[in-house]
């Protein structure tokens, strides 16, 4: 048992927290925009998916690092 076992899941949780807040804000904004302008839904959706992918990637990096360091704990 070493600090990796504590630190990596904690880091993943923190990254997921940040991503969750970011995704919530982004998708909330997109939903509001869709409600206001239903005719622009396809374009808003495309932009939203790209943004969500970038936000989500941050958590994925931590997730990958968890697998990289998995042999150490």
């Amino acid at each position: 048992m070493n600090l990796f076992a504590l630190g990596l899941p904690l880091a993943l949780g923190l990254a997921a927290l940040g991503s969750g807040v970011g995704l919530g804000r982004a998708i909330g904004g997109a939903m509001e925009a869709m409600g206001r302008q239903p005719e622009a839904i396809p374009r808003i959706q495309t932009a939203m998916i790209i943004g969500a992918a970038f936000i989500e990637a941050l958590t994925i990096y931590v997730f990958v690092s968890l697998f990289v360091f998995q042999a150490k704990f």
């Binding site: 048992m1 495309t46 998916i49 790209i50 992918a53 970038f54 989500e56 990637a57 994925i60 990096y61 997730f63 990958v64 697998f67 998995q70 042999a71 150490k72 704990f73």
Partner: protein, 329 residues
């Protein structure tokens, strides 16, 4: 009594395919993993570096690294070895080592054959009033053409075949692992990295061809217009180069991380369902993974879409007409 609405839904071909997948998953997926769980993995005799990590792990049976549901290849390797093996470094027999190491390319090849066969059969005898297969292929290609062509504009239409093929290939790779005994090649970093490198090279080549070598380097230096721009360019140049190099990295890691996470999730829940019923000593389990397989159906589509969309935007950024649009990330 089934309501007519539901009946029409049940008769839909997509539903029967999904039902078939889950039915097979329930039939085959759980008992085979149960056998795998029953026979504990042998201690790692070959790899010395792993030995020091094993005692701290406590639970002896589980292997280090990623967890995958059993596949045709891992079962074949297990038959060759005589006991269950999951990773190529555990296998002793050269054939078992080889097929475990090259599991992703083997299944990629299978997917390529399936996709090519579908497309060739769909386009073999094209009629004015299309049959079901031609209809399906036409629908897929037309919607991809509309979607990607809409982002790229009329000048970028010639990249649609590359990007559309990318989407179909990645989607099939992603969704293939949900079929029992099959494997998701995109849950290995090699497959996603190779796709991302292809996209990177094609984008750079297109950028050079569209803007010329001088224009390309000028763009990397941040399009300097005046003295301030030229003074800033030594600072901007490495920044842009790193930005370009970070794209394939983030593309491949995103797809790989999502797909491996999903596979691991499903495998862990299959194991959990077997643990619940382990007191019966029968090769059965509770299919706890089914809700996550529905979730996986969604993620597979979205991740394939995201990969294609980001590649499309990288192409759109190097095309001349969209030079001064906002930069992606």
């Amino acid at each position: 009594m089934i309501s007519p609405h539901l009946r029409s839904w049940v008769r839909h071909p997509a539903f029967s395919i999904v039902a078939l997948i889950f039915g097979l998953a329930l039939l085959f997926g759980t008992p085979i993993l149960a056998q795998h769980e029953d026979t504990p993995a042998p201690p790692h005799a070959t790899s010395v570096s792993d030995q020091e990590a094993v005692p701290a792990h406590g639970e002896g049976g589980h292997e280090e690294g990623t967890v995958h549901p059993p596949t045709l290849v891992s079962i074949a390797a297990g038959l060759i070895e005589g006991h269950a093996v999951h990773e190529s470094k555990d296998a002793v027999h050269p054939v078992a080592r080889f097929i475990l190491r090259y599991q992703a390319p083997i299944f990629s090849l299978l997917i390529i054959i399936i996709l090519s066969t579908l497309c060739i059969l769909g386009a073999r005898s094209m009629k004015m009033i299309p049959g079901p297969l031609q209809n399906l292929v036409e629908w897929a290609l037309e919607s991809l053409d509309n979607f990607i062509g809409g982002v790229l504009g009329p000048e970028g239409r010639r990249f649609v075949p590359f990007l559309g093929t990318l989407f179909l290939y990645i989607y099939f790779q992603n969704v293939f692992g949900l079929i029992p005994l099959m494997f998701t090649p995109t849950s290995m970093i090699e497959s996603t990295a190779s796709l991302a490198i292809c996209v990177f090279l094609y984008v750079q080549w297109t950028a050079v061809r569209m803007n010329g070598v001088v224009g390309y380097l000028r763009h990397l230096a941040g399009d300097p217009q005046d003295l301030t721009g030229w003074l800033m360019s030594p600072l901007l140049f490495p920044l842009h180069v790193i930005g370009e190099l970070a794209r394939p990295l983030s593309l491949s890691l995103r797809l790989f991380g999502n797909m491996m996470g999903e596979e691991t999730l499903i495998a862990v829940f299959i194991g959990l369902g077997i643990t619940v019923l382990s007191f019966t000593h029968l090769p059965i389990g509770v299919p706890l993974q089914v809700p996550f397989m529905f979730l996986a159906l969604l993620t597979t589509l979205i991740q394939a879409l995201v990969f294609t969309l980001l590649s499309t935007i990288y192409f759109a950024l190097v095309l001349p007409h969209s030079h001064h649009e906002e930069e992606a990330h």
